[in-house]
């Protein structure tokens, strides 16, 4: 049976929604530039690409229609490349990778671009026209629970104090700062041109190198009057895009594409919406089982940091040495452009396997509404 591998990864810089440099760029233009960057970087023969699978959490407005097909045209890919837009909220672009891997293994294509994008500036979280089902809301309001509230629920359930969350955030910023200083993001970032071609944006904008526990302790509570979660212990609203090239191992060999990592197993799982942040636990356990691995086998872990309390709650269940966790920083520091994050952390995990010379990597994230998604990669 064919095996799917990661053969390339890149992303745009991640910048804060509304205030950041990417705010002025349409999300379709943004992801098109990243896709072009991936094609250039991997030198993949575009005629061979089966599909552009594009994740987006709020696919409306400028992210609307079948965004993936629009991006095929914007990126000047051949008409033969088809496009599908998929939505699993924050897990969308990791799901794109899973779909590609599944297709490759059932011999339904050789090469796929798996991407994700979110302009949280231009399309608000929740979309412009959130119209929940009134009957469901009456019967089961948790189906529509806000993300911040779920973070508070986990903080309460796992007794994670505010200070502990802030310590976690400070570490995330510190790791990202060091990675940025060492130039670890240079390889993965595609400089983005503004529409006027006046500026090239090539630096992440969310990282706060100078943040401290003391600074964070001053921030007001963001979601609950007597809670513990603040903007400082939440991932920021972010604009960004990421893309991963997924192909069969055989195709990579034949076409001399880089073989970054093999996709060993994948999983999704559901959990109660009000503690959606715990989602990675169930998904990771399934993925580990399917890979025949234990958590101590994982040398690299990319656990998305939607909230510090959420990540800390997950870590209560999965024993992951700190050195292996989010080595170049997580979403609290880098930002979390919803639809793009899955591609970022999977691509990142693949590149870290190579850089850190480890055998197995996990990329996992929680998903609003009560879900988790996980991917286990194996060094080649």
């Amino acid at each position: 049976m064919k095996k799917a591998i990661i053969a390339g990864y890149c992303r745009s810089p991640f910048t804060p929604a509304s205030k950041g440099q990417l705010a002025v760029i349409r999300p379709d233009d943004l992801i098109a530039q990243v896709v072009t960057g991936l094609v250039d970087k991997t030198a993949v023969n575009v005629a061979d690409i089966e599909d552009l699978i594009l994740g987006c959490a709020f696919p409306e407005g400028e992210q609307g229609l079948n965004l993936a097909r629009i991006v095929v045209h914007l990126a000047k890919l051949p008409h033969s490349v088809s496009g599908v837009t998929i939505n699993r909220f924050c897990g969308s672009s990791m799901q794109a990778i899973h779909i590609a891997a599944g297709a490759i293994e059932m011999n339904a294509g050789e090469v796929f671009i798996c991407a994700g994008v979110e302009s949280m500036t231009r399309i608000p979280m929740g979309g412009f026209n959130c119209l929940p089902n009134p009957t469901l809301y009456e019967r089961y309001p948790e189906a529509y629970i806000s993300m911040g509230e779920t973070a508070e629920n986990l903080a309460t359930e796992y007794q994670i104090q505010r200070q502990t969350q802030e310590q976690f955030s400070v570490k995330s910023h510190a790791k990202a700062t060091i990675a940025q200083q060492k130039g670890f993001f240079q390889d993965e970032i595609i400089p983005i041109m503004t529409t006027s071609q006046a500026t090239s944006i090539n630096q992440d904008g969310c990282i706060r190198p100078d943040t401290t526990e003391s600074i964070l302790s001053e921030l007001p509570l963001a979601f609950l009057k007597k809670g513990s979660v603040t903007a400082g212990t939440s991932s920021p609203m972010t604009d960004g895009a990421a893309a991963v090239l997924v192909c069969s191992e055989q195709y990579a060999d034949q076409n001399h594409l880089p073989k970054m990592a093999r996709i060993r197993s994948t999983a999704v799982s559901g959990c109660a919406p009000e503690i959606m942040g715990i989602g990675p636990v169930g998904a990771t356990k399934k993925a580990l089982q399917r890979a025949g691995l234990e958590s101590h086998d994982l040398g690299v872990v990319e656990l998305n940091e939607a909230f510090a309390s959420q990540a800390l709650a997950v870590l209560e269940h999965l024993s992951i040495p700190e050195n292996n966790l989010n080595i170049d920083g997580g979403a609290i520091a880098l930002g979390h452009p919803l639809g793009a994050t899955g591609a970022r952390i999977t691509g990142k995990a693949a590149s870290l396997l190579q850089r850190e010379n480890k055998r197995y990597a996990l990329a996992t994230q929680c998903i609003g509404g009560g879900q988790g998604i996980a991917t286990i990669l194996e060094a080649i």
Binding site: E60, F128, N129, P134, Y144, E149
Partner: protein, 771 residues
Amino acid sequence: MAISKVVVIGAGVMGARIAAHISNAGISVYLLDVVLKNNRNRNQVAETAIKQLTLVQPAAFMRPANARLITPGNIEDHLDKVAEVDWVIEAVVEDPVIKKNLYQKLNLLCASDTVISSNTSTLPLSVLIDGLPETFTRRFFISHFFNPPRYMPLLEVVLGSMTESEIVKPVLKFADYQLGKGLVYCKDTPGFIANRIGIYWLQCGITHAMAMGLTIEQADAALQPFGIPKTGIFALLDLVGLDLMPVIMVSMKKALPEADAFQQMSHIPELVNKMIAKGYTGRKGKGGFYRLNTAGGKRIKESIDLKTGDYHTSIKSLDADDSEITCVSLQALLLDDDVIGDYRWQVLSKTLCYCAEIFSDIANNITDIDKAMILGYHWQWGPFELLDELHVDWFVERLESEGRAVPELLKQKLALYDRSKRTSSYLISSGQYKAMITPPGILSLSDAKQQNSAVLENSSASLWDVGDGVVCLEFHSKMNALDFDTLSLIRQSIDKIRQEFVALVIYNEADNFSVGANLKLLTTAINRQSWHEIEVMITEGQETFGALKYAPFPVVGAPSGLALGGGCEVLLHCDAIEAHSELYMGLVEVGVGLIPGWGGCKEYLYRCLHKTRKTMGPMPAIIKGFNTVAMAEVSRSAIEAQERLFLSSTDGITPNRQRLLNNAKVKALALIEGYLQSEPPVFSLPGLSAKVTLGIALRGFQLVGKASHYDVVIGNQLAKVFTGDDCDITGIVTEKQVLDLEMKGFMALVKQGETQSRLEHMLSVGKPLRN
């Protein structure tokens, strides 16, 4: 020539705020000041001033974005910018040598017809132009703004004999029409008009209060019935800055003749010198005569003891009686046989005599003095109008009985104004009267009221003929609160206009257009549990405003000041609005536990649905409208009211309050030709799903402590109106159905104890209760 760019030199309090106000007219302005020594940022002074402008209260900018119209700079690197502009305003330190040096440079750099003016408050023009060439003096004048320039409508203008009126005319027109200033032409004398009199009055107030042993609260309260604003004497001095007093006094003493009565009133009390030395310079310092003690986390207003200099908690004096002030009551206040009565008489008689003595030295006529004090010191009456209120003969006889000198102007005991004829006239030195000529573009409701009797009237509102077939509906209840009488007069007016007139303007000359519905009436009905009566009140309002909207003639609202709640709702039903630039408009009903019930939700929702720029599905417009009403947002200017969609883009904004009625009338007349009666709107609303979305958002606000439990209850009622409640997104909601939703929400809330607590709190404290 239109004014398109301005330079202000001097980024002190006045210079910076003048720059801000010029930006309020949509005009770009450079703000230049000196370069600080040892500072790498050469624009530091101007940049800091602009930053301060964004924080200052009351707000200097009519909308925050105006700050971007001010470019900071310095006089070493950027003085050449004066070559690009039409008007240069100098607002540097009050030193003639520094000013004249600057003028010489400006004269070389400016284009030949660029107007240059000084904002000096003390230096005469003759001193400033002494030795300067004709190329300068021909385009130079004094433009004296009052602080804060956005809010104080007075602009004192001193033209020199060399000033060429054709050159400065565009600037004066700009100041009048676009900056909204009331121009008063002054003679070139120290302190010009308003400060010459104002400072004399303030000095009188302090000196006599100290001599008579009054507290500052007593002194300030004593003068209020005479139309002096609530700031009184002492709070005004705190606002101006105590440290300025000695500076002004030295300058005035030096400049005025020895025989001038000012000289006797120019002594700075020892207490004031001590306060200045200790940094108690007023609001900008640690405090002044009044201060806010914030120790212990509470804000306690304290007053200084004029004898000991110690502070004590302020004792709230009883506000001036609400009852109508009459000549008899004013005289009686001056005759009070106690120290307060004596204080009033001493301060007022001396001030009014001083005005009468010097009027011809400082002004062209008494009307300019009255105008200056009304616009510059916010007096209800100018000094000569006040003399008429008191009756000149009574005033003079009392002076005579005390053996005091009677000013020449008053000796014949003639009234200062003759308002018996169609055109009013004023007294001149010869003892004759001269007709007052209203300049073109100004229409005064007071004049119209003097010339005609009311077309219709009752205790809360009146209808006046303002010419050319246009009538003006005037509210005149307390705070212009709307009640059954108001609604009834609107109904009667509609019938009347249909028969006899062509258009209606809704306007009044009070400080505030209307604070909303009369809450006392509502609480009385609540106390009686007369729910039916309240339903009638709502129906009556809805139907009356509906009748206004569907009247077969144009209706133009012309608000100024507060237009809240019902006052906002009546405007939302007009065909068009001509607003004074100082308009504070909003649907604030949630503050008293209610939602707008007189069609305000319906009209505002319609505006949001049709005028929200991003028409991306049904929700953005609904969220915008809902947020504005749920948070009781009030515009901080007319331009902001336009941004919040209370005003439409075709509505007009008039910066000069005195031009408002005329502009509204012109707007109404322009609408007559081809006037089409409004068609009832239909709404397409998303219904229950949208209500859930708003409910989720409300819950989020409650969780984080930004909304109380009862805020959420009110919000949910409001959400029903803004979403169409249980309608389906494919259906149509009629105007009547939205009005019914308003009624339903209003009635549900009005029966709640929390709403009643909010209402009672508002009536007793004047501020909203968050319960």
